[in-house]
Symmetry: C2
Subunit: 614 residues, 2 copies
């Protein structure tokens, strides 16, 4: 006699011979149920929830009662102990699926296995007795080994201190969190069965902090929070902040506390939004440029700020959240991705992890746009060669008269009519404009160049008769938005000086890319990836139009936004990605541009914009 068996939410079903176990049924139907004990009712990994068809089943076996306890009432069963004895429909919880079955995709759509460094295990322990007076710690450890085959787990002193009370208050029914770093460490004990494990990924930008709360069982980002980096109070750029850290007695500590308290505020917000207790958040990953990395750890930046720009540490760091003053589980690991050089930080490493482009067959250029921009050229066969360029803050809205960061009211994209010179624009939030952010500035320059208001030399063509083009207080300027349409009481303009700032920036990126290409003998790249927290996606056409990238086909230019933050999430979800980041960072060949003899000449040559139709 065969019965219909359905496995949810996997859409697997079929007819199975009576008497076969649900584990056998799962295997026949291609459901990758975990089963470390091979179906002996020992490991407790093949737990399923019987959604329909419960009545025909035999009562739970002793093995099931021992392992499942109260979960029996929630219709949990062990698939290996439960025979098919009628039509049945079961739900397969994610944690019962074999690891290779949980596959996520990265930013480029490439699949990867979910394998976080922290996992939770549910334990139902026997209370101690005179005949079994095993210590509390060993009681937990033996159970972890017996049920989950987890060996060599250490328990830190801070957990030992509260362990007796936590076990007894929970009636010996607990969920423990294990961090698998260099070795396994038990970092949390919670009462009863706890379903979710959470981690936090962080992008510490010079300008903006972004925090992602990630469900480590599903791989979902469940909350995202951001704020202006509170270190901005000590200087807008890394040079000013490093000077503060070095000159003031308390400077280093002030900067450290500023970023830590900012992160703590974002962590609390994200946790509150998702209904997660921050103290049970089990791990954090952090990316940022090398200066942000050092200031966050309270490390010396004195030698980072002057030649030969020596960091204290390049490699990945693992520290305890409690030692850093963070409000997640104090025993939670904080993993900082590796930096490559003083001005080539883990944010760019994270870009590479998120975009996967270092694995491309053909030569690819990745440009992380920021005040200190990072450029890397690579392919599977070329390896990775990188440089950093002092591009200035123009593409983040800095040093631009009406420049602003990418928040509500910023012009993020615009187009200039070639006949009327009218400007069509979009703002973030669709509200009247307050200024213009990086992606808008790039569009503005590209469009003004296209319609001829800006000449290839970069000079504004003041001979053009147009009301929007006029002489400002100091410089010629072009009116993007008339005052009556703005949220301000004045016209929003782009000045001749603003154009010059953009020229400097684009030349820096272009020369960085050229020198890398020369070094590796690459005449033509096949792809350019533009990353960066400029708020909105840069328009590849504009990037090509102003000659920022060494390509003339915009279809080969990809704009990926804040890839660094996505990379931080990926390494939180995957130990393999983490190892890959460490390995890859160690293989990046860093080129110090200031040591290149032809740098200045090349830079001057690249100041001009491309000639039209050339």
């Amino acid at each position: 006699m065969k019965y219909a068996v359905k496995f949810h939410p996997l859409h697997k079903s079929g007819r199975i011979e009576e008497g076969k176990t649900l584990l056998e049924a799962a295997r026949e139907l291609g459901v990758a149920l975990r089963s470390e004990c091979g179906g002996k009712g020992i490991c407790g990994k093949c737990q399923v929830v019987v959604e329909a068809g419960n009545k025909g089943l035999p009562p739970a076996t002793k093995a099931e009662r021992g392992i499942l306890g109260d979960k029996l009432e929630a219709k949990y069963r062990l698939a290996c102990r439960t025979p098919v004895s009628g039509p049945i429909q079961v739900l397969v919880p994610q944690e019962s699926l074999a690891e290779e079955a949980v596959i996520l995709t990265d930013g480029e759509g490439a699949p990867f296995n979910l394998e976080p460094a922290v996992e939770q295990y549910h334990l139902k322990l026997a209370a101690p007795s005179l005949s079994h007076p095993l210590a509390d710690a060993e009681r937990v450890l033996q159970s972890l080994e017996r049920i989950y085959a987890l060996k060599d787990v250490s328990i830190p002193g801070a957990v030992l201190s509260s362990l007796p009370a936590r076990l007894r208050q929970a009636g010996w029914d607990v969920t423990v969190t294990i961090w698998q770093g260099r070795h396994r460490e038990l970092i949390d004990v919670q009462p009863g069965y706890v379903a979710g494990t959470y981690g936090i990924a962080v992008d510490i930008g010079t300008t903006t902090l972004v925090v992602y709360l990630v469900n480590l069982v599903s791989g979902d980002v469940v909350a995202t929070e951001s704020m202006v980096n509170p270190q901005a109070a000590y200087g807008a750029d890394v040079i000013t902040r490093m000077a503060h850290a070095v000159k003031e007695a308390e400077g280093k500590e002030q900067l450290r506390q500023a970023v830590v308290s900012g992160l703590n505020q974002l962590i609390r917000q994200a946790c509150a939004r998702a209904g997660v207790e921050a103290k049970h958040v089990a791990e954090m990953t952090i990316v940022g440029n090398t200066v942000m990395h050092h200031l966050f750890l309270g490390l010396e930046t004195r030698f980072l700020g002057r030649a030969p720009f020596t960091p204290v540490v390049h490699g990945p760091c693992d520290l305890k959240a409690g030692d850093l003053g963070l409000v997640i589980n104090p025993l939670g690991n904080v993993h900082l991705l590796p930096n490559v050089a003083g001005f080539w930080g883990s944010d760019a490493v994270s870009d590479l992890i998120a975009t996967n482009c270092y694995r491309d067959r053909q030569a690819t250029l990745l440009i992380d746009i920021g005040t200190n921009g990072e450029v890397v050229l690579g392919s599977e066969s070329l390896g990775l060669t990188a440089c950093s360029v002092a591009a200035g803050p123009a593409f983040e809205g800095g040093h631009i008269q009406f420049g602003m960061n990418a928040s509500r009211g910023a012009i993020e994209h615009l187009r200039v009519d070639s006949a009327t010179y009218d400007v069509h624009y979009e703002t973030i939030g669709g509200i009247p404009p307050k200024g213009i952010c990086g992606s808008g500035i790039l569009d503005a320059v590209a469009e003004m160049l296209r319609v001829g208001i800006v000449l290839p030399s970069g000079r504004m063509d003041t001979s053009i008769q147009c009301q929007r083009l006029r002489q400002g207080a100091e410089w010629p300027e072009f009116v993007l938005v008339w005052a009556e349409n703005t949220a301000l009481e004045e016209d929003i303009v782009l000045t001749q000086k603003d154009i010059r700032e953009v020229q400097m920036g684009k030349a820096a990126f272009r020369v960085g890319a050229q020198i890398l290409m020369q070094q590796k003998g690459v005449k033509q790249v096949e792809k350019v990836v533009l990353a960066g927290a400029f708020g909105s996606y840069l328009n590849p056409k504009s990037a090509v139009a102003i000659g920022m990238v060494p390509l003339d086909n915009p279809e080969k230019v990809i704009s990926v936004g804040n890839a660094a933050g996505r990379g931080a999430c990926l390494v939180l979800l995957s130990k393999s990605k983490r190892a890959e980041a460490a390995n890859m960072a160690g293989r990046v060949n860093y080129l110090e541009l200031t040591l290149q003899p032809d740098f200045n000449t090349a830079f001057v040559n690249e100041i001009a914009f491309p000639k039209k139709d050339s």
Copy 2:
């Protein structure tokens, strides 16, 4: 042409062909010089000091200059780079000898390899430059890997914080300390070449704290300090202290701070005596009974103090000195040896490690004498079976009218003249007696039994005519020392009640031993080892005379004094011994005496002393 080559202090010499290197010479003469690079001048392990014959040698090679630096002036050379070119005499520093050649002996004279968990490495680094802008941390790590083949070393945040300043202040010439725990960790950076590495071994007794400062390169104990355990202010015994820990809000923390501050005082004293800086002491090992272990770590003792006497943790613990408030290097590891049960602690495990007697071919009984005594029966084939006995404090001088701990002025040994009943005694320090300590009490009872003043039942024979034997205020008593010969103003006596206390204690040990023997079907043990911090060595004859041990041949009884402290030193010097302790503790089969049905009967049967000549 051959020349005489001598290696000091190993008494190895011979004639070696001109042109062969000193490394080749060493091999020919059986000197186990280290050489991880195989004689290529890379690893720097084969350093020797040329004591005589320096003049004929060629100048140092580039490899030698790079590795040895200033040590060249102290006549250091690399053996693999130095040819025999005349008669020569070299000193081989201990650190240049292959590990298997550094052999120490344990308490029983058995050899073991010196292999501490911390070692120091001298590094001469190149300063960073624009062409080699490697980070400080990686500069150290790459050098460790290149010169000493040490991989996968992690550097904690606390070291990173001070690393840039330390490296630069030392001119890039430093000695780093590496702890090899579950993985390698760099825990200290000192300027220049540092010769010694030091560790601290600790025995936390209920009554006495003992601290040993140990040179981890030579294996020598360079200073020993002890004091009364400051926890005594909260109760003399473990039960009272546990009650304080549980009842008072601050009790647990008061007890923790008491022992930590006591240990810190002893560490400072020991370091001052040996001219060692406490902050550079790199590791600590600690033994003590389970209650002392828990109170030291600030762990909950509520469940240790009542049935089923469940400890928080049995296994070995590794914690950071800084987290525990100890004054050695805050990153120094503090290793606590494993406990076996609530009343069978790491002090007894340490006894076994120090005496090695669990490896005996024939059945051996080890008794650790204390208020809470530990008894273990074992042999290579029997395994280890253990129990704890509530023996009372009589053998430590407690509950005895003139009892005292083993300090100056305590009667430590005595003899009673069988004709005159005169008492001949020895005191610690040879000064007039103030009281009597454990070993003296044992002798006194044995001697009074021998001369007939005490009958086998334990009753004093008041029919004997003797001035020293008299009726005291409550009990009959025997005068050991007349007031005029004491440091007191009264006679020192042993009372009928004192005899009863000793009877209770010896019966407890004897019954513990008997039950273990019954369990394992052992009719006769071949050796009894008496350990304990009773101050002086117990007289085996006295132990046999009062029937404390299940043997009648005193030659089979060995008194080893404070073996626990020696075991703590051994595990500090040897990772293998440490692993052995963990492994062995896990294999001890612990028997809860109170669960034995015939315990009470056996105890009553053993209250009496052996009949004379029986």
